[in-house]
Every structure is written in structure tokens, then in C-alpha cells.
């Protein structure tokens, strides 16, 4: 069940109304049943895998908790390590089978072919269970938190199963960490009209980002990337910029709906995006983009590997490891791994060049925190991120390189002269172009407000009713009219659902 489906439009209000009507003690069980129903709408069989992952990590957590009571330190550590290793191996094993086995088989077959060895490693034609990458990371965060004694082991299976399957976060995150989310399922959530409206406003903004902006931008991206060989470098560049904002508005839009849906029911989820395209470096970008995943990698991979505590080169190795794994997490394809690697590489180069940059600024008498320097850094970072998005969006690694080459070569004056003709090739017409420009202005406005820590939602909710209602009506009508949905538009799935 997608957030932008008719089913969800019926499901969500029904769940919320019943949630506030039933007694507190039944709320968790009710939400758990709803979450499993939500998940089973994709494929009922895969709910079993979700349940297995949940059960494994629940018992891992209990065993870890019990191990803490063992007085013999050596035995305690051994037991705990055994528990956490079992939890990781079993859950990553499931993830590997569904997500990476075919990539593994393909790679192995290629290697054997190169070595002239006639072995055929089989492929499995299995459908990737929705949200498996997200909930696997969630359950791993739980056992890590229990292992580190950041949180006690959860003894209530219902509460733990709800943490794993909580429907607003199930399909595409945010990957709420156990220490942030799990305690909330023990709290009482009373009806709070102000928070409900705040949540609904966030959901509304999410729907705007997804249904209007991401979907229309996606048409340009699909048109150009689907026929990249016949497109000019400039068209590919425009499509890549569009993709940068498509992916952002699609995933940030989803996150807004997920966080807003949680808020409506009284749950607080950490922000998943924080104005990423105003970052002044690639490392800052990763502190602002898909924050729940970045912090997961930071807390459960980068820091355990030693982080930046073991010298510069170990730090670089750790950064590369994290981003290669991040690439692999996004998809079992080489171009995702290259995308991750490139993000790591840019950060390492940025770090290595820092003394040179400082020296250059001194020579040019430019203040480090001056507006000019900051604007330059934001633009330069955006360009670097654009390069990485080519690898993310292109169908394969080889094609990514060709597309990038086309963009760099085709970025001449002749390409600019051919722009009007090129726009026709983008697969949109003038009204859509105007709609996209207007939508981008709205997106930028909200991002700038967020960057300045101004909460537009609270501002709206403080207005007089006629102002608020006018805004609500305008927003809902605009989304319903300008959104991409209905007959003829079937491919409006959220992009991160495939990961």
C-alpha cells in the first residue's frame, strides 16, 4: 500500500480515528495489526520474513540483556558477541539472499567465464520484499543499541514488533533508531488537535513534493535518460538537475508523509532531510541527506570501524567503506557502488585539499565565512553531487560514464543555442514548465525557511481560521489538480521503495 494510493487515503484516516477511540492498552496491538495489514497489501508472504527478522532480533535482544547479568566478564563478552553476530548474520543473510544474491551470481559467473571455468551459479527470480533494507537496518540498530546498553532489551514482543513494523516507516523509512523510537511505544498518546494538524500539514507538503514536483520532474528525467544516446549533453545536464530535485522531492516528500503520519498519531520521528542542496561540502550533504541512513552508518559502521580516531588514512578507509556499503545498500548494481564510492572519494579529496583551499583563500583575501565563498561552496558541492547522481540514475555503470562524457562534451555554446529545440526533447510542454518553475519556487521557499529554522507549519497554525482554511483549500486543490495520478499514470511509486 503506497502513501499515494486510494487505499491509503481510506486506511490512514480509519486507523487514526480508531487509534484514538480504543483504550490505551490496546493501542499497540491495534497498530501492530494495522502495520502488518499495511505490509501484507504488497505481498502477504513477505510478512513472514518481516516476522522472522523481528523474532530473531527480539530474542537476540533478550539474550543480550540476560548476558549482561553474567558476572564472568570473558563469558559475558563472548555471549554478547555471539548474540550480536548471530543477529547480524541471520538478518544480513536474509537481506543478502533477496537483494544481492543475483549480483553475487552474476559477478561469480563473470569471473568464472574470465578464467574459462564452466560453472553456472544459479539465479533466483524472487521479488524484493518491500522495505527489507529499511527494516533490516532498524532491527540491527536495536540489537546494537542493546549490545551497547544504550537501551534495555525490550521484553514486550508486541511493542518490539510494532517498532519494527510501524507502518508509516515500514516501506521507506525513516530508519528510526531503536533508542529514539522504541520508548515512544511505551508512552501514552493522547488526542492532540494541534499536533494532529501539524502532522497533516507535513503530510500535505509531502504529497505536494511527490505528486506534483517529483512526478512531473520524473517525466523529463525518464524521457531523457530513457533515450540518452540521442539526447544532447545539455538535455542530459538539465535532466540530471531535474533528477537531483526529483529524487529529493520524492524521497523527502515520502519522509514528510511518514513523519507527518507518525505525528498525527503522536509519534516523533527525527528529520530525514535538512535542506541538503544548501550544503557547503559533500560531507555536510551527507549530514543533511537521508539523515536516518547516514546516522545509522555513522553509529553502527563508521564509529565501530574506528571513525576518525585512528589516524587520517584509517579515517579515509572508513569513509570509503561506509560509502561503498551505502552504495550497495541502495541497490545490487555496480553503478550504485560507483555512486557510493564517488561520494566517499569526493569527501576524501575535499579533506586532503583543505590546506590548499585555506591557502588559496588567504592569497585571494577571501574571508572563509564570507557570502561569496559560501555561495561558491554550495554551487560547487551541488555540481559534485550532480556528478554522483548521474551514476545513481543511469541504467548501468558503463552508461553512466558515457552520459557524463556527453554532458561534459556537449556543454558548449552550440548546445545553449539549441536550447529551445532541446526543451521540446525534454518531453514536457510550456504549461508543465511553468508549473515546475512555480513548484520549484515553493520548494525553495520552504527549504530556505527550514534553513533559517523558521517553522512554516507553526506559522500557518497561528493564523486566523479564514487564512488557514484558504491555504488548506488552495493546497489540497492544487495537489489534486496538478498532481500526477489517475488513469494513464501507473508508475507513481516512490523511488526509494525499490531499495
Amino acid at each position: 500500500m503506497l502513501f499515494n494510493s486510494i487505499e491509503f487515503m481510506v486506511f490512514f484516516p480509519s486507523v487514526c480515528i480508531l487509534y484514538y477511540l480504543i483504550p490505551s492498552r490496546a493501542k499497540n496491538l491495534f497498530l501492530l495489526a494495522c502495520s502488518y495489514f499495511f505490509y501484507m497489501c504488497w505481498n502477504p508472504k513477505y510478512a513472514l520474513i518481516l516476522l522472522i527478522s523481528t523474532a530473531i532480533t527480539y530474542y537476540c535482544g533478550l539474550l543480550l540483556g540476560r548476558s549482561d547479568g553474567i558476572e564472568d566478564e570473558e563469558k559475558r563478552i563472548r555471549n554478547k558477541k555471539l548474540c550480536i553476530a548471530s543477529g547480524f548474520i541471520l538478518n544480513l543473510g536474509i537481506l543478502f539472499f533477496f537483494k544481492y544474491f543475483n549480483l553475487f551470481s552474476r559477478t561469480l559467473n563473470s569471473v568464472f567465464a574470465l578464467l574459462h571455468i564452466h560453472v553456472n551459479v544459479p539465479f533466483f527470480d524472487v521479488l524484493l520484499p518491500a522495505g527489507i533494507s529499511f527494516y533490516t537496518f532498524k532491527v540491527l540498530s536495536y540489537i546494537m543499541d542493546v549490545y551497547r546498553k544504550d537501551i534495555p532489551a525490550e521484553t514486550d514482543f508486541i511493542r518490539y514488533a510494532l517498532y519494527v513494523s510501524f507502518f508509516p516507516q515500514l516501506a521507506q523509512g525513516p530508519i528510526a533508531h531503536a533508542k529514539d523510537m522504541l520508548p515512544q511505544f511505551s508512552e501514552e498518546h493522547v488526542f492532540d488537535w494541534y499536533n494532529i494538524r501539524r502532522g497533516l500539514l507535513l503530510m500535505l507538503y509531502g504529497y505536494f513534493q511527490k505528486a506534483v514536483l517529483a512526478s512531473w520532474l520524473g517525466m523529463i528525467v525518464d524521457t531523457v535518460y530513457g533515450n540518452w544516446a540521442n539526447c544532447s549533453g545539455l538535455q542530459l545536464l538539465i535532466a540530471t538537475v531535474c533528477f537531483a530535485f526529483q529524487l529529493y522531492s520524492d524521497f523527502a516528500g515520502y519522509s514528510c508523509i511518514a513523519i507527518g503520519a507518525g505525528e498525527v498519531m503522536g509519534f516523533t520521528t527525527l528529520d530525514n532531510f535538512n535542506v541538503p542542496y544548501l550544503s557547503k561540502s559533500v560531507s555536510e550533504f551527507w549530514r543533511r541527506w537521508h539523515i536516518s541512513l547516514s546516522t545509522w552508518f555513522r553509529d553502527y559502521l563508521y564509529i565501530p570501524l574506528g571513525g576518525n580516531r585512528k589516524g587520517k588514512w584509517i579515517k579515509y578507509f572508513n569513509i570509503m567503506t561506509v560509502f561503498l556499503v551505502s552504495g550497495l545498500w541502495h541497490g545490487a548494481e555496480y553503478h550504485y557502488i560507483a555512486w557510493g564510492g564517488l561520494n566517499g572519494l569526493f569527501q576524501i579529496i575535499g579533506d586532503l585539499l583543505r590546506p590548499l583551499r585555506t591557502r588559496t583563500l588567504q592569497l585571494l583575501h577571501i574571508q572563509k565565512n564570507s557570502a561569496v565563498h559560501n555561495i561558491f561552496r554550495v554551487i560547487f558541492t551541488f555540481i559534485l553531487i550532480l556528478i554522483t547522481w548521474v551514476f545513481f540514475r543511469a541504467p548501468s555503470l558503463v552508461e553512466s560514464v558515457y552520459i557524463l562524457e556527453k554532458i561534459l562534451i556537449g556543454f558548449g555554446t552550440s548546445a545553449w543555442r539549441a536550447l529551445p529545440d532541446g526543451l521540446k526533447g525534454l518531453g514536457i510542454d510550456r504549461p508543465v514548465l511553468l508549473l515546475l518553475l512555480a513548484s520549484m519556487i515553493i520548494l525553495i521557499f520552504f527549504d530556505v525557511m527550514k534553513y533559517r529554522n523558521i517553522c512554516v507549519r507553526d506559522f500557518i497554525l497561528k493564523q486566523k481560521p479564514y487564512v488557514r482554511w484558504t491555504l488548506y483549500y488552495a493546497a489540497v486543490t492544487a495537489i489534486l489538480v496538478f498532481g500526477v495520478y489517475g488513469p494513464g499514470y501507473s508508475s507513481t511509486e516512490f523511488m526509494y521503495i525499490q531499495f
Partner: protein, 356 residues
């Protein structure tokens, strides 16, 4: 967060009322937006849509049928020359199945003395020819039972999501925001179901033919339902056939098929004592001037057919003139608008299909 606001919950009753008012307001807004965005197709879809604006039980004659009906019968002329209140519940490529459901629908609101059924689509046993034809009938249909039955018949394989877009046409037409023009914001009130083609094309009179073609079973099945419905409601059913040409000869097969169905239907209706007015030769059609294309009449042809039908109907049945009746003043007003419109079009020498 504003703590005062946060803890200031409205009472349940007030909250429920607020939510109700909000959604009522939203519905009203979307209803108006839908009126702008809905597909109009130069008025061809307006016939079902505008039908509901008629004063209840005010119709004398209801015409049902495809484009042959709404280019063949001129309701404004029927009013001006005979004082008869008529309406064409037409739609493009209206099959017998669609005609039956539209008649069912119309009789919920009107009780006409006469139903005039145009016979061109006896040729088809399908529910609809193209998806847009089905939508032309169902999009604006108000009675949910009729709508449901027709959608279920037309889309037996479709799942509920596909069907939902037929019940809520906004799901499909919201994307028309890109193609809106002036005509989407201005509604013409003088249709009464008839459309007009002022331009004409010249054709040769086709040779009469006696050949006969088999009428599809389903078409006859639904015609019988129409007949039963009329009998049940004490309505006189009259079937008519607007004249056709055979184009420049290239439509010869089509012409022979059409006339074959017409001849077979003539026998069928005669056996059942249903009046069938085959107007191919009777109305004095001028094949040089009276056709817009090979199968649709121009305004001059439409006037001849209307005059013949109205003469016949007024001679056969007691259809009193409502001229001067204040309850029908809208017909006078709309006739004047229609006349002005025709004069303007004739003076400017242009005919914008979407506007006529």
C-alpha cells in the same frame, strides 16, 4: 510550539462539525473545479451534463441516439416552430445499450410524451465503441445504479481502481489543466442537446438499396428493453433514421451496411407496430447542401429533418404548444441566444466546431 494552542482541544462535537464543514467546503470547491476541468468535447458531452438543468417533468419529446440524432434534430427549431419542449440525450457513438441506460436515467427526471430513437447504432451490439464514448455517457450520469450497471457491463474485466475513475471523473480529467481554453470557462445554455454544423460538403444522392443485414442480437435485446420501458411509462416510442450519403463512393460498404440494417429494422419494427420514420427520401434532402460530412447533416439538413419529424409527431400525437407559458420562458430566451449565435457565425463566415 505554542503551549496554549497545543492544549486547547475543541470539544468533540465542535471538532466533528469543523471537519464536516471543512470537507463540505472542499467538496464545493472541487465540484466547481471539476466543472471547469471536465471533458466537454465541443458540447458532445454536455448533453448528459446539461440534461439535469431541465425543469422536472417539462419535456414533451426526448430524443436519444448518437451524433446522427444530435446533428439530425434541432430542439430550438422544435420550440420556435411548434412550441414543443424537446431535448436530445445524445452522446457520440451511442449504442443501444447506452441508449437504454440514458433513457432509464432520463425517466427519473422527465416524463416525455414521445421518445424519438435514432436507429443508426442498431448496427452495434457492443456496450461502447471507444472508451471516450462510454465516458460521455457515464461521466455526468447522476443515478448511481444506472452508472454502476453500465460501467460493470462496459468494463467487465476492470478492477475497482480502474472503475473508480469512471465514478469520479476528476481522477481522469484533472490533468486537463494543461489544455484549458475559453470554452472551458463559459457554458452555452442553448444546446438542449442539439449541435449545429453550418458548413456543408456536396455529395451525390446514393442509389436506393433493398439489401438487408443482420441486426446484432444485443442491439435488439436492448431495444426491447427500451420499448418495455416506454410502455411501462406510457410513452410513445418512435424510431427514426436520419439520411446518409455514401460519400464520394469510398464509403460504399458503410452505406450498404447502414441501409441493410435500416431495411432489416424496418421489417422488425413493422412486425411490432413501432413507427419507423426512414427519412432518406421523405424530407427532400439536397445532397449538395445538406451534409456536413458523408453521414452527418448540416444545419440545413437538420432543419428539414426536424420539420418533418415535428409535423409527423404533432399530427399523430397531442403535443400542445407551450408558447407563451411562463414556465417555458427559458426556451424562448435560449432560442434568441441560439438565433444570435447562428447569425454571428453566418456573418463571420467561420465555424469553430468547439463552439457550435
Amino acid at each position: 510550539m505554542d503551549k496554549n494552542n497545543k492544549n486547547n482541544h475543541p470539544a468533540f462535537g465542535r471538532l466533528a462539525l469543523t471537519v464536516l464543514i471543512f470537507f463540505t467546503g472542499l467538496y464545493a470547491i472541487l465540484y466547481e473545479v471539476n466543472e471547469i476541468l471536465r471533458y466537454k468535447n465541443g458540447g458532445e458531452v454536455d448533453m448528459v451534463h446539461s440534461f439535469y438543468k431541465l425543469k422536472k417533468d417539462s419535456l414533451d419529446v426526448l430524443v436519444i441516439g448518437s451524433s446522427h440524432a444530435y446533428y439530425g434534430f434541432q430542439t430550438n427549431q422544435a420550440w420556435e416552430d411548434y412550441g414543443v419542449a424537446s431535448y436530445v440525450m445524445g452522446s457520440p457513438s451511442q449504442t443501444m445499450i447506452c441508449s437504454y441506460y440514458l433513457l432509464e436515467e432520463a425517466l427519473q427526471y422527465q416524463k416525455p410524451q414521445v421518445v424519438l430513437l435514432e436507429s443508426y447504432y442498431f448496427r452495434s451490439g457492443k456496450v461502447f465503441v471507444q472508451d471516450s464514448n462510454l465516458r460521455a455517457v457515464t461521466d455526468n450520469m447522476k443515478n448511481l445504479q444506472n452508472k454502476r450497471e453500465l460501467i460493470d457491463l462496459g468494463l467487465p474485466e476492470a478492477d475497482w481502481k480502474e472503475k473508480l475513475a469512471y465514478y469520479v471523473p476528476f481522477f481522469k480529467y484533472h490533468s486537463r489543466w494543461k489544455e484549458l481554453d475559453q470554452s472551458d470557462f463559459t457554458q452555452k445554455s442553448f444546446y438542449k442537446g442539439s449541435l449545429v454544423r453550418l458548413k456543408h460538403k456536396s455529395f451525390r444522392a446514393p442509389e436506393p438499396t433493398d439489401e438487408k443485414k443482420e441486426i446484432p442480437e444485443t442491439a435488439l435485446e436492448y431495444f426491447e428493453k427500451i420499448r418495455a420501458l416506454c410502455e411501462e411509462n406510457d410513452i410513445r416510442l418512435v424510431v427514426f433514421k436520419t439520411p446518409v450519403s455514401n460519400g464520394s463512393g469510398e464509403n460504399s460498404d458503410w452505406y450498404h451496411n447502414t441501409m441493410g440494417i435500416t431495411n432489416s429494422l424496418s421489417d422488425y419494427l413493422e412486425e411490432r407496430s413501432v413507427p419507423y420514420l426512414k427519412l432518406q427520401d421523405q424530407v427532400g434532402i439536397d445532397f449538395e447542401n445538406d451534409f456536413y460530412d458523408y453521414c452527418h447533416l448540416s444545419f440545413t439538413g437538420q432543419k428539414k429533418v426536424t420539420a418533418y419529424l415535428m409535423d409527423w409527431l404533432t399530427a399523430q400525437y397531442d403535443l400542445p404548444s407551450h408558447k407563451g407559458d411562463p414556465a417555458y420562458s427559458s426556451y424562448d430566451r435560449e432560442y434568441e441566444e441560439f438565433k444570435d449565435y447562428i447569425n454571428t457565425q453566418k456573418t463571420s463566415g467561420s465555424e469553430d466546431r468547439d463552439d457550435v
